[in-house]
């Protein structure tokens, strides 16, 4: 349904050339929910804009539903829904007027496709006379999703739909996406948040324009081959430095309340003894399963740029 081969895009500024995408390949079958996971500036938005026919790649090809993004852009636009990262509805139109507007542009009516958006739109219907600019973050997202769906697209592109949205709205939003997926839509969604990645069928980890890994969440996690432990003690800040300075492990990163440590071999007793000798008490050490974030960190540690500035 979504196919990309060797997509490359760079932007020229006065002083330098910024590579936004470097030879990106994608192959997403119909009905899949595919996540693009990466930080700001990784190239996610450039990828979305090329696939939605809004930006031309420097080289490479992309095909959506059998249509070429350059030659067949007009046809593609009829078949896709796009929710850009920046809220892009008309702030001074009401909720209902916005929906009406997008329906009209696509030569359809709200009534004709209401079944598809019913569950989502009902949640914001009590505010249908309110101007879009006056809505909360969560409700803006629901309206934007309704507008992106009103012409019954086959593919949905969502660029960071939950950035700046609170945890409850975020959860509700992903429930809606799961529902749309079960209705047969193909969904490409980007997010900087690893917990959302878990909900996708497949994910691509992207950094500095390159896809570092492309697989199911399970296989991404399984690719972390070294033993991984979570450790804590009574002096956490000191613990981080002791683990690193004494080279007790190959990698030590703070992870919420714990520090995650990994090495090819982890001898628990050696680590505990060394830390006790340094005055740590209440040491807790337990083996854990890697998360997507653990894998991402490990991949990033191997990229050049981070070796330079860390």
């Amino acid at each position: 349904m979504i196919f990309a081969e060797q997509l490359t895009k760079s932007y020229r500024t006065k002083t330098e050339e910024v590579k936004a995408l470097l030879s990106v390949d994608l192959n997403i079958p119909k009905g899949e929910m595919f996540g693009v996971i990466g930080p700001d500036g990784a190239g996610k938005t450039s990828l979305f804009r090329i696939l939605t026919t809004l930006l031309l790649a420097d080289s490479g090809t992309a095909v959506i539903n059998g249509l070429d993004v350059v030659k067949d852009y007009a046809k593609i636009r009829q078949q896709i829904g796009y929710m850009p990262g920046r809220f892009s509805l008309y702030q001074d139109l009401t909720v209902e007027e916005n929906l009406q507007f997008f329906a009209t542009i696509f030569n359809t009516t709200i009534e004709e496709n209401y079944s598809l958006i019913k569950d989502i739109y009902e949640q914001i219907a009590p505010f249908k006379d309110r101007r879009a600019g006056q809505l909360s973050g969560g409700m803006k997202q629901k309206l934007a999703l309704s507008c992106a769906l009103i012409h019954r697209p086959e593919v949905l592109f969502l660029d960071e739909p939950t950035t700046g949205v609170d945890a409850v709205s975020r959860k509700e939003f992903w429930q809606m996406l799961q529902k749309l997926k079960s209705d047969g839509l193909t969904i490409l969604v980007s997010t900087p948040y690893m917990d959302e990645a878990e909900q996708c069928d497949r994910i691509a980890l992207i950094q500095e324009g390159k896809i570092l890994m492309n697989n199911t969440p399970e296989n991404v996690k399984a690719s972390f081959s070294d033993p991984l432990f979570a450790i804590r003690s009574n002096k956490m800040y000191q613990l981080l430095h002791d683990l690193r300075d004494d080279h007790l492990v190959q990698a030590a990163h703070i992870f919420g309340e714990d520090i995650h440590i990994s090495s090819e071999v982890i001898n628990q007793q050696v680590i505990i003894d060394a830390l006790q000798a340094k005055g740590h008490t209440q040491i807790q050490l337990k083996q854990i399963n890697p998360s997507i974030e653990d894998v991402f960190i490990k991949l990033l540690m191997h990229t050049e740029s981070h070796e330079q500035h860390s």
Binding site: D40, G41, Q134, S136, A167, R232, Y237
Partner: protein, 254 residues
Amino acid sequence: MNNIANNQREVVISATNLTKQFGDFIATNAISFEVYKGEIFGFLGANGAGKTTAMKMLCGLSTPSRGSATVAGFDVSTESEKIKKNIGYMSQKFSLYEDLTVTENIRFYAGIYGLSIPVIKEKTAALLQQLNMESQKNVLVKALPLGWKQKLAFSIAIIHDPAVVFLDEPTGGVDPITRREFWEMIYSAANRGTTAFVTTHYMDEAEYCNRISIMVDGKIEALGTPSDLKKEFNSATMDDVFLKLARNAKRIGD
């Protein structure tokens, strides 16, 4: 990350029944809590829960309708100017002037906080070295990668060694490694005695705090370490704790 020394704990922020009412609407409803020196305190709530209003009062930008609070020993109602001198503030949305260079931003903020020229010079050199940004010192801030901007913004927010630094959703949208480098800077500042007050609605940021409070409809409904809260609400993750509390919210986030 827990870093609590259990000996005597100096209170740096203290709120007692702190309330802000706009007409009939009680944005912040009689909240009471204490935050200690060198603590990283997470201040959570859904959109519209009253976080921003509460934080404005603590920063001396808004006068409480009822109740009281002290920050760094000063009363928020009567000594707001003194509070402003003793706190730092950073948010992801706005922190630095994009059209000023790195050095100009440092000089500007240090000047606002009343540091003398020799001290500014000394602090600037130390800060650039610490951030490994000496070669970028004359670069416009808008040309820096987001992660560097955030690290610079945080360093500038604490350039006057404030008692408390307020961080408003500090690490949204940065890569996992830069995020960790950033939190290590916060831990380091906390280790030197600066208290960090972090507002966020991202649970993964919350997990890095020593203690967390969760606001629902203007009230603090839960307060404790991330581990304690997970136990109390019988949840595996902070996300779950938050959802259990915030699902009961009556207010529409506006």
